[in-house]
Every structure is written in structure tokens, then in C-alpha cells.
Amino acid sequence: MPKFVLDGVEREVPAGLNVIEAAALFGTKVPHFCWHPKLKVSGNCRMCLVDVKPGPPKFSIACNTIVADGMTVETKTERVMQARRGVLEFLLLNHPLDCPVCDKAYECTLQDYTYDYGISHSRWEAAGLHEDKRTYERKDFGDKMFVEMNRCVQCTRCIRVLRDVAGEYELGRTERGHALEIASYKDTLTSDFQLNAVDVCPVGALGDKKYRFTARVWDMYARPSVCGGCSIQCSVDVWTKENAVKRLTPRRNDFVNSSWMCDTGRHGFDFANSPDRFGQPFVRDDAGGHAPTEWAKALAAVSARLKDVVAAHGGKSVGLVLGAGLTNEEYFAASVFAKAAGIAHVGFVPGENKRPYRWVDSDVLPDTLVSDDKTFNTNGALSLGVAGAIGGKDVVTATVEAIERKKDGLKALIVLGENLLDVRRTGGARVGPDAGRVAKALQSLDLLIVADREVTATAELAHVVLPTVTHWEKEGTATNWNRHVQAFKPAFAFEHGRPVSELTVITELARAINADFPRAAPSAWFARLAAAVPDYAGLTFDGLLAAGGALGGVDSAVNAQIPAKSAPAQASIGGE
């Protein structure tokens, strides 16, 4: 643990940290553009200049100086401040005053540093040189990434992200000197990870075309959750303005997605704002159509009818099909409900649960940032004992056959978050018999209860349709392909009507049959499942909020075979 003097105070830090990281441990910010904890050191922005002794009388860059025993570092002297002012002036010489129209405002490091360290007037402008600001020809990098290279400060983070994280060396430096331009030899960037470059760009040179001009940063809330696009479950921040999701950004989680996410996942939030979402229950009326019904009445109706079926034919005449996107608490509660009610036919259609990957080099590869398994929580369901097949057949086929069976068949079916007429898994492959047969079977039921976000084809056939929320509106946990569990709290609340979580639906249906079934918060359900399921022993809901934890009591780093710390910062020996 090296001891060093930081701004006159002796400090001790873990070995291997650079001056930026070490200073941050004590609340000292060393400004920087090009350094990023997950990328190789570039050292070209020169914003992090500090004085380091022992060493030459010249400045050193904090990002490339590893703290050593006996070092003295000065980050706050007038000399250092003058250097920062100098660098900022140089960067602002050719930077367009686009702030009023630039998306990056409020999260722009150039803005922030100019406010903290810069001068308020421009000598370039005073010298009458503002007509001579460098401009580049307008370029377009494709459908996803917005480009305004006039704002670029040539920090090369984008180049390094694409090269080292996405593995696609699509951007590079071209030309030389002040004509230097970050450009591509391709007409369009093809990588499915290119928008990570937008995250790391310290200014508004790179942007997300989908997000552009849809919100100002200060109008949004950013709340932590997880992406639901596939079984990787990248940690994200969900940015909402007036309870509509405006964008997702990756949240750093060294056990899951490092600091990155794929573009498909990043853009995959339209379902949360979809005008097809509905907010109140529908109950089939005598005319055969669906009438909107308030919750109390709908629940009363569905409870009564469910009780009737159970009374007449027993719990074994009820089937429970769960979607693959529910939370762990919901899977567990469903199992408890089924057991208590004597429901034997319980299952879900799993995605292809891939075996854990070995993490290579020191950062994430595209293989481990996106999975072909587009279900959200297959591994959660499997780890909690939800059946992925019934009688050796997929759950759709098994359910249809169980309905068609004359003797001891299913009379009622509860479907939570799945459109049985069109179940698709890995590669878009359809699961189950043809839609016509499935529909016929569902129509023959005495009672079909469907809970979903939108009125799907299955919901159209239901006697009662209940509106549910996305996982971003729930409290809960989910388990990814790598047996890593993350907890999350609601990131926003849908404003139209009152959709509820599947947990609420399960609870109310359970209470129709068994009044003792508890109404409990998801965190309480988690405590219960952690006590009941050995793999989840020792995990607590609150403990899983920050970065999650691993199943089976194994340290996540070992489980996932990744280093727990971020990538070692090593200088890139040139050639960007």
C-alpha cells in the first residue's frame, strides 16, 4: 500500500492506482478528457497535468503516473491551475459555441471544466480570429450515431472504445496537426456497440440519433436498473422525462457489463412508452367484447370465477404459464401459489441458457455484452425451480395438449407475460403448435386470465385481461446467464391508468383461493426465497442493489472468471 503526499497531506492507497484514481479516493478531482478507467491510457488531452516529485521539473500527466511510495503530488497549486487554464483555452480555440443546441449540455466535461478552471472571455475572439475556427466537412456515420466533428476535442476515446471494446477498428485519426480529424474509412459504422462511443465522448461531437433533441439532461431523472433486452442484464440507468423513458445508458458493473452495453439494448425501450400499453383491466362481456373495468370489480370477478373452477375440478385443472421476463420474486411467489393451490401444471418457455463464458483480456468482448437469448430472466426462473418443460415437451405444446385432454384436462389457464400464439426464442424460432390450434384450445377454456403489458393475441381471447408493468417499474431481482443476481427498484411510473406487477396479480389470484397468502413487498419475498433456495442463501435484496451478487455463494469474480477490478491502465504505444 504505497504512501504518498497529496496536496500536502500524507495518504495511503492500494497499489496500482494512477494519480487520478488515487486522488478521487480523497475527494480530489483531477480533470481529464481522454483517460477512462476502462480504456488504455492515451495521455493526449493533457488536462490532467499535475506536478509529481521525484521527477523532472516538467508537468506529469496524472493518468499515466502510478502512485509510488514516497511520491509527492500537487494538484491544486497555481502552476497546475495555470496549466489547466492553458489546456482549456487551447481546446476552446476551435470549439464552436454550440451549447444552446448541443445535447451534451449539462453532462459535458468541457463545459464543466471551463466553468471550474477556465477563463470567461476568449482571447481568440478578442484577437478577431473567430472566423478562423477550424471546421470539418459534415460527415454521417450511419443510422445510429450522430456526428458533429466541429465539437470534437480529439481525445480519441471513441477510437479506443470501438477498437478495444467493440473489437471493430472503425474510427481513427486522419490528417495531421490542427487538421486532425477523427474519421472512418467506412461510409457507415457497422458495430452493434458503436453507441458506447457516444457515452464516453466528453463533448457533443458524437450523439445518439434516436435521443437527439428529445430531452435536456436536467429535465430527466436517471435511475438505476437493468436492461431487459437479453439474458446478459446489463446494468443501466433509465433516463425518464415526465415518466416517459428517453434513453438508457450503461451503468458500470464490473461483474456484468463493465461500462458498456449493446446498441440494440440501448435503443430497446420503446416498449415502455408504447401507446399500445394499457392501464386498466378488461373483462369479457356478454357480447363477447372486452369492457374496461375498474380493478376492484375485475379482481372480484376473476377471483370468484377462479374459485369456482378450483371448487369444481380441483387445483389440477388450473394451469399457470409464466413469461420469461418476470422477476425472481414473481417466479418464487408463483411457485408458492401453485403449491398452495394444488396447481400442478406450471411452467415457462426458457431461452437458450448459455453456459458462462470465459472473459478474455481485461475487458468485455462483444460475445459477453449481448446474448442470442433475448429472454430477460430465464436463468432466474430455472434457478428457482420453474419448469422449462412439462412431460418432456415445451410448455406451449404441453399446455395445449393438457387443455385438449378430455379426462383430467385443464379448465382454466393463467398466463402472465407471454403471448402463447406467438412464442419466439433464440434466433426467432417459434415454439409450440400452430397458432390456429393454440387459439382453439384457449377458446375452449372455462377461464382464461391473461396479464400483459399490451393486449396481445392471447389477451384478446381472455375472459379477463390485466395490465402489467415493465420491469423498470417494479422492485425486484433477476438472474442473468452467468448466475449473477441484480436487484432494482422502480425507475419510473407509467402515467396512464394503473398497471401492476405480475407479483400483484399472483398475490391477488392466490388470495382468491387461499386467504393466508401474504401481500408482501418484493424485497420481503426475496428474503423468503433466499431462505428457501440454497443457491440464493446469504444474499440480501439491499446488498444486490449496487452491483448484484453471485449465486451459489461463489464470489462473482471467480464465478464469472473475470477480474473484480477494472482493466489495468496501460499506455497504448501509439498508432491510433
Partner: protein
């Protein structure tokens, strides 16, 4: 005793400072061998250890002749003795404005360079040597290629030199017109096929250089001295020079002098002696006004400051640098602001663009000084120019190109501030009328 040149001794006329080529045969291997060539290398490989060579070079007080003046023996001593592949790289990029000495060494004594490479590679345990020559030196590249082929043919390069177990492969590689590739780490990047952009230091090339391996990069003239040092001893070489700087130096004189040229001089020769005695003084009938003593990166000296010796340390004490030995003489009919424009334009053009102060600063300096020169400047512009240059020095950048632009720019303002002020006051160059009357137009500076 008359002066005896060292590094030019095989082909230049003895007994004088001016390099006058009198032996054109020794560039070919037969004459070179006949004159005793490659014998020193053979003796070193057979009878000396690498460390003995390093010790001799340390004792010689040889300092790098490329511009930085770093003690060569000390640099060689940094190379780890680790059994890994090591490289020797010869920097023949010679792009510092005002410098043209290495060119003649390559043209007239390429085998001297090769022999120096053999001994130097042996000392630093390198088995591969690359010569990086600037792309513009087309005919010199051909000279070098021919000499290397001749050396291979005679077994002076390749496997088991002189029957020892020391191998040395040599590759000649041409640059493509970038001054920045004279910076050693940018040179290494260029050699590796990447953009010619300097790397962060530390780590230094001696530890992590070409392809990440320990590499020594030295200037042509520096390596030329090595066989002489091994032949006659480090102490002899040190004795030729001054307290901390051994040997002789090559300097090039250009500009407004009657007889420009390349010279090999003792470190004790003063600039005044060089310019007036050797070069005949100013050529156009105007007094000498300013002298750039070591390539355009060196701060300028006024005519009153010329009694300084050509030694690295003396010039450093005088607030400038020995640099690459490119001496440019400027007379009183020349506008220093326009000179500054010319120099700043060079650095702005040659900046690689990696780091903020240099990429933006060299452009800033060029635009500001151009504005002043064109007569549109304000007094504040002079201060801005001076201050902005100050933010480009002292470790604020990845390499010294920014310092190389900023230091001279500041020196022009410090020593010739009145010319800048006059441009601002008059709204034009104060020498316009003089230039028009003398030369009938704008053609000359």
C-alpha cells in the same frame, strides 16, 4: 597543431573546419576497407565486451548530435541486460530546419555509419539495426542501400560477424515527409507501420521501444563518432571537447553569410568566429542582426550575443541550445516578425495533432503572428502570443515539438519586441520600404 576533424576525417580535407569533400572513393567499400575500415569493429567484437564499449563511450562524454545532447553512454547504460531482442535505430530523419550535416555523412561515409552501427549494436546487445532516413533523401537512400548491400556481400553484416557469434541484420527504411518522425518514439511508430505520432514517455525506448523491446535511438553523427572512440579511446575523445561534452561537432551555416557550408569544429569555437572568420560574415551588406544557433527550435540570439562557444553547455547557459547544429544567420534587412511567421508556419504544419496544446497552440501561434505581421495586430495580441506560447512548454505536451515552437517564438518577442510593436503601430512591416528599395519587391525576407 592544425585542427583535425574526426567524424568527417575519412572524406574531408584535414586541417580546416570547413567540410570540403576531397575523398569520394571511401564511400565505396573497397576503398573503405583498404583505408582500414571495419578493422575497429572486428577488434571490438573479438576483444572487447559490450560493457567495455559502453564504458568507453561514457568516458568519451559523447552527447547526442540529433538535437537533445543527451549523454550517449548513459543512454546505452539504461538498456536492460535481459536476453530479449534489442534494437538499434539510427535516426537519419534530419528535418530540423537549418540542419544538413547527416546528409553528407551518409553520402560520403556510409560505411563509417555501418561500422559505427556494428559496434553500437554490439554494445547494447542489439541484433537488428534499422536506419530511418527521411523520405526526401532519395539519392542518399540509394547511397545507403548500396553500402549496406556491399557490407552484406563482404560479410560485415548478417550472421556471425568476423567469425564471432554476433549477428547483425540491417534494414534501411524511408520516411514520408514528416518532421515529427524525427522524434524518437514517433520514429518507432512510423517504423512499425503506424501513424508517426510520439508515444508517452516514460516508458523510454531503452526499456520499451520498437515493438515494445529495448531500443536505442541515436543520430547519424553520434554513431559516426563511435569507431573513432573505440580506436583511440574515450579519454582522447573527451579531451577534444569541453568539460561535459566530448569530441568535435558538425555545424551547418546558412542564411545571410558569404560562404555558407558544413563545418566540423571544436566545441570551443565561438559563433562569432564561425560566422565571420569561417563564413566571411554577412553577405548582403547589412549587419548581422540575429542568429539561430541550433536549428529553428533553438531560441534566437542577437548580434551582441555571438561570443558564445559552440558547446552544448555554453549555449544552454546563454539561454539557447546547441540543438542540431543548424546555424542560420539573419541580417538587419530581415524582418524578425516575418521570420517568426515562417518558423511558426513550419511547426503548425508539422504538429502531429495528438495533444491539445500543440495541435491547437501551434495553429494559434501561427495565426497570431501572421496577423501581427500583416499589420492587423493589437498590443494585446503580442501579449497573448507570448502567454499562449508559455502554456505549450514544460511538460504540457507529449513531445517537445510544442516547446520547439514556443521557445523560439518567445525569444523573438523577448529579443525583438520593438519589431512586433512597430508592426502593430504602423499597421505594416517597418522594413517594407527598405525591402522595396533594396530588392524591388516582396521576394525576399
Amino acid at each position: 597543431m592544425a585542427f583535425q576533424p574526426v567524424v568527417t576525417s575519412r572524406f574531408a580535407k584535414p586541417g580546416q573546419y570547413r567540410m570540403e569533400v576531397v575523398n569520394r572513393d571511401v564511400a565505396g567499400i573497397d576503398a573503405y576497407v583498404k583505408a582500414g575500415g571495419y578493422k575497429i569493429a572486428e577488434d571490438v567484437l573479438k576483444n572487447k565486451t559490450p560493457d567495455q564499449v559502453i564504458d568507453a563511450v561514457k568516458a568519451s562524454k559523447l552527447r547526442g548530435r540529433g538535437g537533445a545532447g543527451f549523454p550517449t553512454g548513459m543512454k546505452w547504460g539504461f538498456v536492460p541486460k535481459d536476453g530479449r531482442q534489442h534494437y538499434l535505430v539510427i535516426n537519419a530523419d534530419e528535418s530540423e530546419p537549418g540542419t544538413f550535416k547527416d546528409r553528407y555523412l551518409i553520402e560520403h561515409d556510409p560505411h563509417g555509419l555501418i561500422e559505427g552501427c556494428i559496434i553500437s549494436a554490439y554494445a547494447v546487445r542489439a541484433t537488428r539495426c534499422y536506419i530511418y532516413i527521411r523520405g526526401e533523401y532519395f539519392s542518399q537512400r540509394a547511397d545507403l542501400d548500396r553500402a549496406v548491400a556491399e557490407a552484406y556481400a563482404k560479410g560485415f553484416l548478417g550472421k556471425r560477424l568476423f567469425g564471432t557469434d554476433f549477428d547483425l541484420e540491417m534494414v534501411v527504411y524511408s520516411g514520408a515527409g514528416a518532421y515529427i518522425c524525427g522524434e524518437e518514439t514517433a520514429l518507432l511508430n512510423s517504423l512499425e507501420g503506424k501513424r508517426g505520432e510520439p508515444r508517452l514517455k516514460p516508458p523510454f525506448p531503452a526499456i520499451q521501444g520498437l515493438y515494445g523491446k529495448p531500443t536505442v535511438v541515436n543520430n547519424v553523427e553520434t554513431i559516426h563518432a563511435v569507431p573513432f572512440i573505440m580506436e583511440r579511446g574515450g579519454e582522447w575523445f573527451a579531451g577534444l571537447g569541453t568539460e561535459k561534452s566530448g569530441g568535435t561537432r558538425m555545424v551547418c551555416v546558412s542564411g545571410h553569410v558569404k560562404r555558407p557550408g558544413v563545418f566540423e569544429v571544436p566545441m570551443t569555437l565561438t559563433l562569432r568566429e564561425l560566422i565571420f572568420d569561417q563564413c566571411g560574415g554577412p553577405s548582403r551588406g547589412h549587419a548581422v542582426k540575429a542568429v539561430i544557433p541550433g536549428g529553428s527550435s533553438a531560441p534566437v540570439l542577437t548580434a551582441a550575443e555571438l561570443d558564445v562557444q559552440c558547446c552544448f553547455d555554453a549555449l544552454a547557459r546563454a539561454g539557447t541550445m546547441g540543438g542540431s547544429g543548424g546555424v542560420v544567420v539573419i541580417d538587419a534587412a530581415t524582418c524578425m516578425v516575418r521570420t517568426a511567421v515562417n518558423v511558426m508556419h513550419f511547426y503548425a504544419h508539422e504538429s502531429c495533432g495528438q495533444c491539445s496544446p500543440c495541435r491547437e497552440g501551434t495553429n494559434y501561434l501561427e495565426l497570431l503572428v501572421h496577423k501581427i505581421e500583416a499589420g492587423h495586430g493589437t498590443p494585446a495580441d503580442i501579449d497573448t502570443l507570448y502567454d499562449a506560447a508559455g502554456n505549450m512548454q514544460g511538460g504540457t505536451t507529449i513531445c517537445a515539438l510544442a516547446d520547439a515552437a514556443a521557445m523560439p517564438m518567445r525569444s523573438y518577442i523577448e529579443k525583438f519586441r520593438d519589431e512586433f510593436v512597430e508592426h502593430v503601430r504602423l499597421g505594416r512591416c517597418p522594413l517594407d520600404d527598405l525591402r522595396l528599395s533594396l530588392h524591388g519587391g516582396w521576394a525576399t525576407a
